[in-house]
């Protein structure tokens, strides 16, 4: 599903590479934790998958396509297969919950009948039925993140990228969000989640990829957050 082949990324303003010859493969249906300190290259990794950045060298393959060979007008097609969730939710404050989710479908030109059908479905999946007409500022942080997950998942993407999705949430709410992401994973979507939350990683016992200073320092199935002492 995602394949990095000796991928390096050096930003124009820096001399030290943000990613240094990283090679790894993520299979379809996997659940991946991406861990490492700030500045270790997690965000760069995710941006490369989304083709927001191009690698300086090496190849990035997503859903069977080599991204540096992907022409600009095909990038939207790639992103329609990838859902994204962020620490800061990124909802539109002047739209209701249902409108926020529908927006993702409207802007890729889906017909109204399709939107009317799938938006309530996905809101039920994330547990927000009955809150369709609320606005983001009337919701708790956890609920807002559910809206963001609904928006990312409404198009049934093959890959869900979550960049510290629990970073702004308390432990109890985080656990609920993790249950939701786990459920989405079980529905067949590959989930790649970057996080600093050791409790979550230790509890879930999924594959852990650790980056440090741009190097891949650990790739462990059923791993924990830190090295076992």
């Amino acid at each position: 599903m995602i394949l990095f082949d000796r991928v390096s990324k050096i930003y124009a303003s820096q001399t030290r590479p943000a990613l240094d010859a990283v090679s790894l493969e993520i299979e379809k249906g996997e659940f991946i934790f991406l861990v490492g300190p700030s500045g270790s290259g997690k965000s760069t990794f995710l941006r490369l998958v989304l083709r927001e950045e191009r690698p300086t060298s090496g190849q990035v393959w997503v859903a069977g396509k080599e991204l540096s060979k992907l022409s600009n007008w095909k990038i939207p097609g790639l992103r329609r297969q990838i859902g994204t969730v962020f620490q800061d939710f990124r909802l539109l404050p002047n739209k209701t919950v249902a409108e926020n989710v529908a927006f993702a479908l409207e802007v890729i030109g889906k017909p109204k009948s399709h939107i009317k059908r799938v938006v309530p479905e996905v809101l039920e999946v994330v547990g927000l039925e009955g809150k369709e007409l609320r606005r983001p500022d009337e919701l708790s942080g956890g609920e807002q993140q559910r809206v963001a997950i609904a928006r990312a998942f409404v198009n049934r993407p093959m890959i869900l990228i979550a960049d510290e999705p629990t970073g702004n949430l308390d432990p109890g709410t985080s656990a609920d969000i993790m249950k939701l992401l786990d459920r989405i994973n079980q529905l067949g979507t590959t989930v790649v989640m970057s996080t600093h939350d050791s409790n979550i990683v230790d509890q879930m016992r999924r594959r852990v990829i650790e980056l440090d200073g741009g190097h891949l320092v650990r790739d462990q199935s059923r791993g924990v957050y830190g090295y076992a002492q």
């Binding site: 007008w73 329609r80 927006f103 890729i108």
Partner: protein, 302 residues
């Protein structure tokens, strides 16, 4: 679906940025109005040239008794000289199209007619006006041929080309048109800069939406279309205002005020207005569209 979504994006964008929208509409209207006015002046000069060049003549004034021009030596033109001039003019056909002879009596009659209500008419006697040949040329620009053949000949006091007087006037109008065009062009530059800035502000104030659109895989076209339509809409409204201004200028200023006061010449017709209006509209939309397109390419990148 797509159409209603884009339309609602456009209208909310325009309302959110109301002051900038108004500024764009007004500058587009003013700059395109000036642009249209300068085109109208040019059409007017062309109309007047067609009208007047058809009527201008070369006048060959003959000597009267007492003329102090050297070629007259104080004597009136003789019949022999008069006949010679006439036959020489005939030999210049086909450049010379028509030849009228105007006697002192004819000149006096015409003078009385032209200055009917003026006291000058009472002070002028028949003898004071020169007799003349009025020559119409097939090509008014070849005046020099006639002038060099006749100026300074015995019996001829002066050769006059009416076209030269007109040309001074046309040069003045041409200069005015050029000034109007330069002002219009600098205003159009201002308009483009304003649209660039407006688009930048609009792109910035909606960066949240456009960021989400990019992430969920909206095409560039879909992301940029509302912005482009907003720019085109503002420019279109401005252009329509400018066209209304042009129509008012034609209907009121030209037809009601200028035409009755200056009956000796013709003015541009509605055909010129109908020719200029689409040019103004297309110029406005294209300028705004291109300015917006190149700004957005920079600020709304994939």
């Amino acid at each position: 679906m797509r159409a209603t979504f884009v339309a609602s994006e456009v209208s909310s964008g325009l309302r959110r940025n109301l002051t900038m929208t108004l500024a764009v509409i007004i500058t587009v209207a003013v700059s395109l109005g000036l642009f249209g006015a300068s085109l109208l002046v040019r059409a007017q000069v062309t109309t007047m040239k067609d009208f007047w060049y058809d009527k201008v003549e070369v006048s060959i004034f003959l000597c009267s008794k007492g003329s102090d021009t050297p070629s007259c030596s104080g004597e009136a033109v003789t019949q022999a000289q008069r006949d010679q001039i006439k036959s020489d003019l005939e030999s210049l056909r086909p450049l010379v199209q028509e030849i009228f002879y105007e006697s002192k009596a004819d000149a006096f009659k015409r003078f009385q007619e032209q200055f009917k209500n003026s006291p000058i008419a009472d002070n002028v006697t028949e003898g004071a006006l020169p007799e003349s040949f009025r020559v119409k040329l097939s090509d008014p620009t070849s005046y020099e041929v006639v002038a060099s053949a006749f100026a300074g000949r015995p019996g001829i006091e002066q050769v006059n080309d009416q076209r030269q007087i007109l040309d001074k006037f046309f040069r003045l109008l041409g200069g005015l048109q050029l000034i109007a065009l330069l002002i219009a062009l600098s205003m159009l530059v201002v308009t483009v800069l304003l649209i660039v800035n407006t688009m930048r502000v609009a792109a910035f104030s909606r960066r949240r939406e456009t960021g989400i659109m990019r992430l969920v895989g909206a095409s560039n076209f879909y992301i940029q279309l509302p912005f482009l339509l907003e720019a085109a809409f503002s420019a279109g409204v401005g252009a329509l205002l400018a066209i209304v201004g042009l129509i008012i200028t034609k209907a009121v200023v030209i037809d009601q005020i200028l035409a009755p006061s200056f009956q000796f010449t013709s003015f541009v017709g509605w055909d010129a207005v109908f020719a200029i209006a689409p040019i103004m509209f297309v110029t406005g939309i294209l300028l705004a569209g291109l300015a917006a397109f190149f700004t957005l390419r920079k600020y709304l990148r994939v």
